[in-house]
Symmetry: C2
Subunit: 688 residues, 2 copies
């Protein structure tokens, strides 16, 4: 009977997915048919969650990395009692529905992270497991456990082929994330054919090499085998688990075990054949037998119990450790602790100045001790990106040697309490892992590398923007001024291509004090990612008694300086390291009698938030002589230049030479800026 | 004595690198000090090359994937007798020198591929090994071997951590590339610290899981052990080899075995200490002892012999197989065979039309049989991207099952002669592998995926542009019109961000016949990569008797239609799937008495090659009412709109719904285009 009930529950899930895809006439039926049994066992016997409160903090996290199997996830959520009714299910892949083509965080209750681009979800799960381990290490106390949940991911062949997942898996093994379990839907089929055409490696051996615990299940329909594997995974303390479950894509359908079952609806005829093959009533569609529903919905009562039990433990914990508990609360609600910014420095005027990467490092280290949510690291570049949080320890297994032999955070020890995460040379995984940290909650994660290598992590940056996650990227070495390393390392188009991503805020501060303002914006933001673009080279710290205050940065662009008197004849616009350059040029032009305005424009996105009137106050429409200066391509600048403006940029790749030489060769000198400005004014004369 | 000579040769290489870095006061001395012995053994005892003819076709390929060790490579090239003299060596990292910060193909004779961004070189090497295997399978005949060379790569910890290298290694094992050998400089140190902080996986076991042959060498200074390992690798027929060589970064220097030796000059004092520690004369700098030079330079005589021997074999081969030999010649010189395009179809007018991805597939299949250099595939998407070359076989190990069980090329069998390469779900490796194929020579490689996933492969796309390699990308599903898969799969900013890459030509054809013209441009180009941007949905095949000919595409933008009579009052500009839309709008506006011009603009880059006069003929400066329509962000379009123009684009992420619904919701309808155009004209009235 129980067996029959199990079977009925599994098939209910299978055919909800099949009917969803068929009704939408779009989607992926094959994976749900094969993976339903493992999903059923996990969700009804192991997953600790509360369908009535999808945001309960201590829930287990479940990630459907194989996002194309969204119909399976929607079925799980509906059957388990989440706020997703049958009408939502029937609106699968339709405009405005709660059941989009791929799972989207924020649209469907119970969806932890947006998946679909392969490899991302699995790496997000690694980030979530890191989040749990770090919170548990900080907030649990002997006899008091307030953070204790696991992270599960359902992954596909495609996930395991993607480099981002390989990077994340290697790091997860190194970090000994024992509470991470990946169920691998090993069906031997991908979109274009069998894995035999491109993917014949020994997956279990590879993951064993990463330091994972692996279990192979020969029959994906064997519920007890799945049960035992999940139990074995639960018993692991130091190794993440990969459970390789051999399944049949499109199980029961005429196209079982072929790529044809992967990404297209079965078709009405084959839907009937599949239902008959599995002894399922051919109608009605979207059939949910009462007994199955009752069994699935027992998750609601269990969930309420889980949460109330946790509330009790939390209650006691907060009485015993009020300060810790209050801190945890602040993080759960994503609030900035009062006084978080008291130690932020103001940098004195200094013509030599310092690199904005150095200013950034000082700000981070001033804030970090007061902002425990700030957690992250670099892709093996913290000595260069200045992102190490001194004295706050390294997130690493306890037995790792002391920090003395590397240039991370000095001291603080090594364990899961540490707040410096060494990603290794794994930019792509870094991007996906910080997404997982942010999606988990309780963190303001940061990831850092050279600006050029942001190209390695564009997919997760885009997903952070799509999910509107609060993630901070620290991208340094932001122009050809990095010098000798040459064109492979010199960003040219990266500023433009980051600005191109919707809902990502890009900020390129001009000096140390703008860097302070940029970090304030980055930390106070809550609903979108921020990319800080910082210089390798020293930049003068501007005299703010002569020029406008640095917190003008909050407006995206501000008038840094105006020649005395009337409306300017010319506006020089720049960001980052070029602001001091145009300022010097402005003073020279002014001496020649050209009334010049200097606009520091660190962020297009912040500027676009202003009202038209506010923008016109910075860039008056009547002033048509505008010269923008930036060490990158002009693409996109035209919108601020009007039809008569000009742009001094770089439209070609860089070169290997000392920075000063490159700036001279590429025309980024006071002389050339002045000359371009004069030419611009001369061109306009006739019209004047 | 021989031992002493070996040691002298090794240390000559070491200190050339140290002195280069010290004189430039910039660079990476640590790796050359540790890796010099393996480089010496490989280059003097195994590498088949001709220093006097770096482009000799049958040479072994050597890739320094750890590009930051460029000083080592320049030392090898100079000592071996390439056209790189001591003065060039002394100009390391200086403006205009032949010795840039990282190795750059095209700048330094003997540099096969541009490296530095980690993981890329190793994946390039996989592409080169694929190239050799495919050419050997096609052109060698029993008793006649004209293609027989090996590919060597020197890789670092960082390379092995990068996902792109993991993807490529998995594929290389699957493909049984026995003539690929990677020397792994296993020094346990990365930029920021010891590998113990982030990279503790079992590398040998991982590569064994991929199907590689692995050998561990405990002492990187043991020349005989290196010799034997290379010999064992040579004996492998079906497995690529990874030789893990334990070395000491910064060997001999006071900072040996620390990250400090990785990326900064040793400093004058430590240079002296290092030279003393290794019994090397402290002066002069750049010392090349006569005996060492003589021994290194023996490569010149050997190289001449290799090549003349090959010429003899090739001579005989061409007498026995004139047609094959002529074909190989054509490919070696990167020429298009005469008549390559005779089978290219012209598509008849068709209001229903076909998707440009389908038109592309037809063109590829019409050309492929006549153009053997055309080789490539997709990242597991060929059923969707239509890039399978029917009947031309799959590049795969012989024992792989017949092609019937997958949707690649029907028939043609399976072996290294096949021309369809199944990359698996590995976009990043695909990008780097096609670079390796192009850098090897003899191929016009193509790689294909959905446009959105071009984000996964931006680093190799950028390197293809930097190297000016002839690579063709086939990116389909090019807009929100892909429909239900939703925002994770819908490109919004990708067109703009590809256009942002210098020297990459992006082409988005409007119908089947523009797709033909686009493929002609793509195949006739020789010195830059091309990205073809194609639709998933059907597009009408325009009636070219009413509208301008499709080969106007060669000019990047052309007047597709003009209202009869005077100068137009309005210009509608579009690319790809939006061209038919604006054409319909133009006819309606014309009926309202608005003289309208329709400009099809498939490629900004091709348009920018025109003279200003030619561009003005398409977009007359006096016509200021311009409306651009494209299913993507406006960034960059402003330059073609002038100050009074308008853009109908999408500045936010997409959504999951049927395509028609999305186009309506986002305003891509004839009604809305007309309304925006009227509004544009109305706004201009007062000024008129």
């Amino acid at each position: 009977m129980n067996n029959t009930l199990d079977q009925c529950c599994v098939d209910t899930l299978r055919f909800l997915a099949v009917d969803m895809v068929q009704k939408a006439n779009s989607g992926h039926p094959g994976m749900p048919l094969g993976a339903a049994p493992m999903a059923y066992v996990l969700w009804t016997r192991w997953l600790k969650h509360n369908p009535r409160n999808p945001t309960w903090f201590d829930r287990d996290r479940f990630v459907l990395s194989a996002g194309h199997g969204s119909a399976l996830l929607y079925g799980l959520l509906h059957l388990s009692g989440y706020d997703l009714d049958l009408d939502d299910i029937k609106q699968f892949r339709q405009w405005g529905s709660k059941t989009p083509g791929h799972p989207e965080r924020g649209i469907t209750p119970g969806v932890e992270t947006t998946t679909g681009p392969l490899g991302q979800g699995m790496a997000n799960a690694v980030g979530m497991a890191i989040a749990e381990a770090n919170l548990a290490a900080r907030y649990n106390q002997p006899g008091h456990t307030v953070v204790d949940h696991r992270t599960y991911a359902l992954v596909s062949d495609g996930d395991l082929m993607e480099g981002v997942a390989s990077e994340a898996a290697s790091l997860a093994g190194h970090l000994q994330l024992g509470k991470l379990t990946c169920l691998y839907d090993d069906n031997g089929i991908t979109l274009s054919g069998g894995t035999n055409i491109s993917f014949t490696e020994d997956r279990a051996q590879r993951f064993a090499a990463y330091g994972w615990h692996t279990i192979v299940i020969g029959d994906g329909n064997d519920l007890e085998a799945i049960e035992q594997a999940l139990s074995a995974a639960r018993d692991e303390s130091d190794r993440p688990s990969l459970i390789l479950v051999c399944t049949h894509i499109g199980y029961g359908s005429p196209e079982q075990d072929t790529f044809k079952a992967h990404g297209s609806p079965l078709g009405a005829a084959n839907v009937l054949k599949t239902k008959r093959a599995l002894d399922w009533p051919t109608e009605p569609d979207f059939l949910v037998p009462e007994q199955a529903l009752v069994h699935w919905r027992s998750a609601v009562a269990r969930g309420a119990e889980y949460e109330s039990d946790w509330n009790t433990r939390k209650e006691i914990h907060s009485r015993s450790f009020p300060r810790l508990a209050a801190e945890l609360e602040t993080r759960m609600f994503a609030l900035l602790p009062s006084g978080w910014d008291v130690a932020i420095p103001t940098f004195p005027t200094d013509s030599k100045g310092l690199a904005t990467r150095d200013a950034s490092g000082k700000v981070m280290n001033a804030v970090a001790p007061l902002l425990p949510a700030l957690f992250g690291g670099s892709a093996d570049l913290d000595p260069s990106t200045k992102t190490a949080l001194a004295g706050l320890g390294d997130f690493n297994p306890a037995q790792t040697p002391t920090a003395e032999d590397h240039q991370g955070s000095a001291g603080g020890g090594w364990n899961h309490r540490g707040r410096n995460l060494h990603f290794g040379v794994r930019e792509h995984a870094m991007g996906a892992i910080v997404n997982g940290l942010a999606a988990h909650g309780g963190f303001i994660p940061f990831g850092s590398t050279f600006l050029i290598f942001s190209d390695y992590m564009r997919p997760p940056i885009r997903l952070a923007a799509l999910m509107r996650l609060h993630v901070v990227y620290v991208f340094t070495h932001d122009s050809v001024a990095l010098g000798e390393d040459g064109p492979t390392h010199q960003p040219i188009e990266q500023l433009a291509t980051l600005r191109a991503i919707p809902d990502l805020v890009v900020i390129r501060p001009a000096d140390a004090n703008e860097t302070v303002a940029a970090w304030r914006v980055a930390l106070e933001s809550r609903d979108h990612p921020i990319a800080l673009i910082l210089s390798r080279q020293e930049l003068p710290t501007l005299d703010r008694s002569l020029y406008a205050a640095a917190d003008g940065l909050r407006r995206g662009a501000y008038v840094l300086y105006d020649s005395p008197g009337e409306m300017p004849a010319l506006i020089l616009i720049a960001s980052g390291s070029e602001v001091a350059l145009v300022l010097a040029a402005a003073l020279r032009l002014q001496a020649e009698g050209i009334a010049t305005r200097v606009v520091s424009m660190p962020s297009w996105e912040l500027f676009e938030r202003l009202s038209p009137a506010e923008r016109d106050a910075v860039l008056p429409p009547e002033v048509k002589a505008r010269l923008a200066v930036e060490l990158g391509i002009a693409q996109g600048w035209q919108r601020y230049l009007g039809c008569d403006g000009d742009m001094l940029g770089i439209e070609h790749f860089g070169a290997s030479a000392p920075a000063e030489e490159l700036l001279k060769q590429f025309g980024f000198t006071v002389e050339n800026v002045c000359q371009r400005a004069r030419a611009l004014l001369a061109r306009r004369k006739p019209q004047a």
